[in-house]
């Protein structure tokens, strides 16, 4: 499948050079690769075994199997640029709306796009509970440490001292460490990538989508207009091996505090574990998955 099959005719209104363009390209590449790969497997398998088995296997993956929800903010414009089903949600609510879509059809492959402001300020309650539900879906969080579309107010991950029109005295608070929070909330997949590293993004997005359960990927996405002083992270980033050890994960999430200008920033899959998903826990949803069906056909 060609990634351009996922394009739309909408005018792209992100700033020239914004790392969001690279996130969009990576998402398109990831999804089209997943579709191509899966269909090849199905095709090969059907060639090797009986045709009836191939019919029983779902006849491959299509872009219709995917769906997205997006929040409100610069990141959310991705809704208009992806030819995928989905809801362009209310601010802070892309996550519960996405979980609802999965309750309505647990067979959807769902990606939820949010920003740091949307998720950690207005939508924080949903963030914490999502790890508890462990819905089988992927959360891609564009973190630029700023409310950029509303002209640069501080978010919960903005560094202390940040001066903006809304915080002329400087931001007094220390930022949240959302990865640490996710780990404490029993996340089953936590990863961090940089929007400037498309190859790594695709690798991690793929693993996140393939993860059984709720996968959370933080994308460090510098804003070119607001909070420029936070754009000093590239030289501090280093890649880690996929990690499944919780104590190592605790150490890794502590390395970067979103505030100080020194210290290393670990990139990659910081933690992954296997826990029952929401779809497995609820017999009603499990039944729909097994029968590859949805409520509409019940």
């Amino acid at each position: 499948m060609n990634p351009n099959d996922l394009s739309t005719k909408s005018e792209n209104t992100w700033c020239p050079g914004c790392p969001n363009h690279m996130i969009l390209a990576s998402v398109k590449q990831t999804i089209s690769d997943l579709i191509t790969k899966q269909n090849k497997t199905v095709h090969q398998r059907s060639g090797l075994t009986s045709t009836s088995e191939a019919v029983n296997q779902r006849s491959g993956l299509t872009k219709e199997d995917f769906a997205i929800t997006t929040d409100i903010g610069c990141h959310a414009k991705i809704f208009d640029y992806l030819n995928l089903s989905g809801i362009y949600c209310l601010h802070g609510r892309a996550l519960p709306t996405g979980i609802g879509m999965k309750l309505g059809n647990p067979n959807l492959k769902l990606l939820t796009f949010v920003g740091d402001g949307a998720m950690y300020a207005e939508g924080m309650e949903h963030f914490v509970h999502a790890f508890k539900y462990n819905t089988d879906m992927t959360l891609i969080l564009h973190d630029n440490q700023s409310f950029s579309l509303t002209t640069g107010q501080p978010t919960p991950t903005t560094q202390t001292g940040y001066v903006s029109k809304a915080s002329p005295l400087g931001t007094f608070d220390k930022p949240f460490n959302p990865l640490k929070l996710a780990l404490a909330a029993n996340a089953t997949f936590i990863a961090r990538v940089s929007a400037r590293d498309m190859k790594h993004m695709q690798e991690v997005f793929t693993k996140a989508i393939q993860h059984k359960g709720f996968s959370f990927v933080e994308v460090i996405q510098d804003c070119l207009i607001f909070n420029l002083e936070s754009n000093t992270k590239d030289s501090r980033m280093y890649k880690i091996k996929d990690n499944k050890d919780k104590s190592i994960a605790e150490k890794l999430t502590n390395e970067y505090d979103y505030n100080t200008k020194d210290g290393k920033i670990p990139m990659g899959i910081i933690y992954q574990s296997a826990e029952p998903t929401l779809e497995e826990k609820w017999p009603q949803l499990n039944k729909l998955i097994k029968s590859k069906s949805y409520w509409k056909n019940k």
Binding site: T8, K9, S10, K63, E64, D65, A67, T69, I72, F79, D80, N83, L84, S85, G86, I87, Y88, C89, L90, R93, P96, T97, G98, I99, G100, M101, K102, L103, G104, N105, N107, L108, E125, H126, H129, W282, P283, Q284, L285, Y294, W295, K296, K298
Partner: protein
């Protein structure tokens, strides 16, 4: 014949069991009952009471004067003694000190004897409730033998079923093939969730408790978008939190049905009591302008019917449907010998994700489903939304009951009311020269209402709120101001005898 029995005690003493057993026995004996539940926001202790009203004809209210008081504690006597009729009778639990956990069955036995119903009727009810009924039947007999016949109720042929409003919401939803009920607990809406959750596997549906009403409403929209028949429910405070999601419904046109069970506000108010003070927010909640249906059933049968209509209309017109009830409707137990109307069945035939690329948005969108800021598309979309008002109103008028007229249809004295207050009004006007116009659809409003108002010499508005919210709505739509208003807003519903007195004073 009309009898009223008050059963009072501490929370946890089992007063609901007494009224349940006795009303079921009465129902099987062919009598209509209405059970009012008055309880406090606490788990154990305090003072709770039920008023069980009995009649050989249809009733949907309780009265102020008691024929019998059953007191499980001293506070019940202290609080309610003045409500006892002159020839009334008191039963106290002290008379049956050694009954332990079967006390409520003993008290039921005592009541059955006083009413003049054969013990076998009670025994049959006990057998249907308990697997091991021997012990309970002995307790029932003990209570039965301790009293004398005071009334002599004769067996009637009515086929009675008893339902609370909450059970009725669940039945209506199930009749329509509900797939998902997503909610956060809030009295008095929670019992509808309990009812749907109870047998969810057998019923092939799912009851999901979200982390907040905000999450519940947004999840409900997501699930509905995915093609599930979805409903959420809450009370006023939770409904406030859902406001933004309702607005998202308006622009995204994802079908959504909300059950709003009111209680007295503002704020936390008097959480386990009743009020009709949320009609305004049901009509207006959510920013921007978008169509909706606000449907207010008045008893359990109507609740079954209107819940199904709400789900049907939300899907047909891709709108917001609000079923507006309150604590009095949700938690009172209604008896009826009438079957609800046939369910308007429906299937989801719109585009859904998983089948084809389907988009919905909180922004104005163009035909591709992507966001737009175009002035011409914005205007076109606004017009399309508003056009639903007239189209849906015509449909509802042709297919569903928007109002009901009760009482003397030729009377020039017109009472107007809605929702759970309807029961007390219907019973209050039974022997009066008056007719009662019950408004079932508060949005859209029936054109018939203006005609009825213009025909009347006297109009009386009856509501359980302080500003006369339906009255204000009618004035907005008809230009007619209702001068006579009977408004009650102390958290307690009207008693029918109390209301009758007020109406007589005006007429």
């Amino acid at each position: 014949m009309r009898l009223n029995i008050l059963i009072g005690g501490k929370a946890g003493q089992g007063i609901n069991k007494v009224s349940e057993i006795v009303s079921n026995t009465l129902g099987n004996f062919g009598y209509f009952t209405f059970n009012y539940r008055d309880y406090q926001s606490l788990i154990r202790g305090g003072h709770n009471f039920n008023v069980l009203s009995i009649s050989e004809e249809q009733i949907e209210s309780h009265e102020t004067k008691m024929n019998i008081i059953v007191a499980l504690d001293e506070r019940t006597l202290k609080t309610h003694k003045q409500a006892l009729k002159k020839d009334g009778q008191i039963i106290t639990s002290e008379q049956f000190e050694n009954e332990g956990r079967n006390l409520n069955i003993t008290l039921a036995g005592a009541l059955i004897k006083i009413l003049g119903i054969p013990l076998t009727e009670l025994e049959n009810e006990i057998k249907s409730q308990f697997k091991k009924s021997e012990e309970a039947i002995i307790s029932a007999k003990k209570g039965f033998d301790s009293q004398e016949n005071k009334f002599s109720l004769k067996k009637l042929k009515n086929k009675i079923s008893i339902l609370s409003g909450s059970e009725a919401v669940a039945i209506g939803a199930r009749n329509s093939g509900l797939d998902l009920y997503i909610a956060y607990p809030m009295t008095p809406a929670t019992n509808a969730m309990h009812e749907l959750a109870k047998n969810q596997i057998e019923d092939n549906l799912m009851a999901f408790q979200a982390e907040s009403e905000i999450a519940a409403a947004n999840m409900a929209l997501g699930a509905s978008f995915s093609g599930a028949k979805t409903m959420t429910g809450t009370s006023g405070g939770g409904f406030d939190l859902m406001g933004e999601a309702l607005s998202l419904q308006g622009i995204s046109e994802i079908p959504l049905t909300v059950y709003l069970a009111s209680r007295p506000g503002p704020g936390t108010g008097v959480p386990t009591y009743t009020a009709q003070a949320d009609l305004d927010i049901a009509l207006r909640a959510g920013h921007g302008e978008f169509p909706r249906f606000v449907i207010a059933p008045g008893n359990a049968t109507e609740t079954i019917e209107k819940t199904s209509e709400a789900l049907f209309l939300a899907e047909k017109f891709k709108t917001l449907s609000i079923i507006l009830g309150d604590k009095h409707l949700a938690e009172s137990e209604f008896s009826s010998n009438k079957k609800p109307a046939k369910t308007p069945k429906f299937k989801i035939s719109r585009k859904i994700p998983g089948e084809s690329i389907t988009k919905a948005a909180s922004y104005e969108v163009d035909t591709s489903g992507n966001s737009t800021e175009s002035y011409s598309i914005t205007e076109k979309n606004v017009n399309a939304r508003v056009a639903k008002y007239e189209k849906s109103k015509q449909f509802i008028n042709d297919n569903f009951g928007m109002i009901k007229i009760h009482g003397n249809k030729n009377s020039k004295n017109l009472i107007i009311g809605w929702g759970s207050t309807s029961g007390a009004i219907k019973d209050a006007i039974k022997n009066l020269d008056a007719k009662f116009l019950q408004v079932l659809y508060c949005k859209p409003l029936s054109n018939q209402i203006r005609k009825e108002m213009e025909k009347a010499n006297n109009i009386i508005l009856v509501e359980e709120n302080v500003t006369g919210q339906l009255g204000r709505l009618l004035r907005e739509k008809t230009g007619i101001k209702i001068e006579n208003r009977l408004l009650k807003y102390n958290g307690r519903p009207f008693h029918s005898d109390e209301l009758k007195k007020y109406i007589e004073e005006i007429l």
